[in-house]
């Protein structure tokens, strides 16, 4: 791998990043979990690869407010040593930055306090279902963590400003549950990636959960049951899981005050719950949801007290899934409303 050492003591993202925003590609002002971003593209034809997942965060520019630059560029020219990596690789950069390298298809994310976010890759990399559904997820996660938000592998939906975190291991049905509720009128916050306020940002004894991406990964059977088979597809993941765009199909909302933890139980013949469960039990489900692409000791030290306080304060309910999706939606709404009535402990 060719080395491009920067000046000693500095923490640049990458000396190969020389792309500049295209003159004809517009600037998109976004506000994600309270952070203002200025999203630009090196080529206008890259916009459809990113905007469907984050377009719902469009926001008016507040005069004088600083915003974080986010540049998306392709890598159709040039020699990129990043592609030499054989597997997904995450590097923590000096100065608090992070760099994620995905070799096949090529895709790089960099986030650094001095440069903002840079997402660059081959056309295949930027157009992959993983990137289109969660563009610059690692970079955004690092940026939001610096601003006091923890990215979690959870779903979330909202009713009247109150929200449920939908918690379960991979394959438990988070996406199906979130979309079942959204199809029935709840606000969709996310199906498997959301940001949660840290303890310093809580209001009235509860955290706010923030949306990141307006996309969902659904197995075909769930998609058929939800009527999502005809929705705009973003491709298929490496595990051949279809990814769909949800913006315009359901009501997408940017945040909600967490009044309930919903712990998903394995499917059965009938939908069960919401059944109140103990905080300690909820915590066992919540802990492994810490975002799984750059976990290290520092992230775990931040997460442990936050997860424990969420479990202590927010009422938790178990829901046993089934194919009666309106019943699943009803159970989620019941949990949100029951949690809101009970209030934080």
């Amino acid at each position: 791998m060719a080395a491009h050492p920067p000046a000693a003591g500095t923490a640049p993202p990458d000396p190969r990043l020389t792309a500049r925003p295209a003159a004809d590609a517009g600037s998109h002002h976004l506000r994600i979990a309270g952070v203002a971003l200025d999203l630009r593209f090196s080529e206008r034809d890259l916009e459809p690869m990113v905007l469907p997942a984050v377009g719902m965060h469009r926001s008016e520019l507040v005069p004088g407010e600083p915003s974080v630059p986010w540049l998306v560029s392709d890598a159709r020219t040039g020699d990129h040593a990043a592609w030499d990596a054989e597997t997904l690789r995450v590097d923590r950069l000096p100065g608090g930055g992070i760099r994620s390298t995905h070799p096949d298809p090529p895709l790089v994310e960099v986030e650094h306090p001095t440069t903002g976010i840079e997402l660059w890759g081959s056309t295949a990399g930027l157009g992959s279902a993983e990137s289109r559904s969660h563009p610059a997820a690692t970079a955004l996660s690092n940026l939001l963590a610096r601003d006091g938000r923890q990215t979690l592998h959870v779903g979330a939906v909202e009713i009247d400003g109150n929200a449920a975190l939908i918690v379960g291991p991979p394959g438990a049905g988070k996406s199906t549950t979130a979309l079942a509720a959204a199809v029935c009128g709840a606000g969709f916050i996310g199906d498997d990636a959301c940001a949660l306020d840290d303890l310093q940002h809580w209001t009235d004894g509860a955290p706010t959960v923030h949306a990141l991406f307006a996309s969902a990964k659904l197995w075909p059977d769930s998609g058929d049951e939800l009527g999502a088979a005809a929705w705009t597809t973003m491709g298929r993941t490496s595990a051949d899981k279809p990814v769909v765009s949800v913006d315009g199909r359901v009501r997408v909302t940017n945040r909600g005050r967490v009044t309930a933890l919903v712990i998903l139980r394995p499917p059965g013949p009938v939908v069960t719950g919401p059944t109140p469960i103990a905080a300690a039990h909820a915590l066992r489900g919540l802990i492994p949801t810490v975002r799984s692409n750059h976990i290290d000791d520092r992230e775990l030290r931040r997460w442990a007290p936050l997860a424990a306080e969420v479990a202590r304060r927010v009422p938790a309910y178990a829901i046993g899934l089934g194919w009666d999706l309106p019943a699943v939606a009803g159970a989620v709404v019941d949990a949100i409303e029951a949690g809101a009535r009970r209030g934080p402990s």
């Binding site: 590097d91 750059h294 442990a304 479990a311």
Partner: protein, 151 residues
């Protein structure tokens, strides 16, 4: 025997409803401690002479309780979450064996459940620290993989 303490540099821990959640931040392994184990953990957080602690447990409850606590402490040692001081320091020599711990009225078998979801991810996708002087792509040496611990 000296004083035994929780390795606070490695273990992040929280108590919820009488259970203690411990995350080994080095490996990512999650431990859920319940029963009498939470009281023992609290004592070890403060620092305790384990031999004297076992005597106290044996006198307060019974010898079976002391054996169970000894096995529990060994489990924590197996997870490398404890630090041992080979000789008591002057200000600790006369300290109570279990510090200020208030023991529960009844003895409930201490248990440790382990979960490796996060540990597996950290093993598969470790985060590399970039050399602050040389910058990317130069990374600092990775720590050696952790040996298997009792699960």
């Amino acid at each position: 025997m000296g004083r035994t303490t929780v390795d606070q540099g490695r273990a992040a821990h929280e108590s919820v409803e009488g259970e203690t959640l411990v995350i080994d931040t080095l490996s990512g392994r999650l431990l859920i401690i319940s029963g009498f184990g939470s009281a023992v953990w609290d004592a070890l957080v403060e620092g305790a002479d384990v031999e004297r602690l076992l005597e106290e447990v044996g006198q307060r409850y019974d010898s079976g309780a002391a054996d169970a606590v000894a096995a529990f402490v060994d489990t924590l040692r197996g997870h490398e979450l404890l630090l041992e001081e080979t000789a008591p320091s002057e200000d600790q020599a006369d300290a109570a064996p279990s510090g200020q711990t208030s023991w529960p009225d009844a003895f409930v078998q201490p248990t440790v459940e382990t979960y490796d979801e996060i540990a597996d991810i950290m093993t598969m996708d470790p985060v590399h620290e970039v050399d602050p002087d040389l910058g990317w792509p130069h990374t600092l040496p990775q720590p050696a993989p952790l040996p298997p611990t009792p699960g």
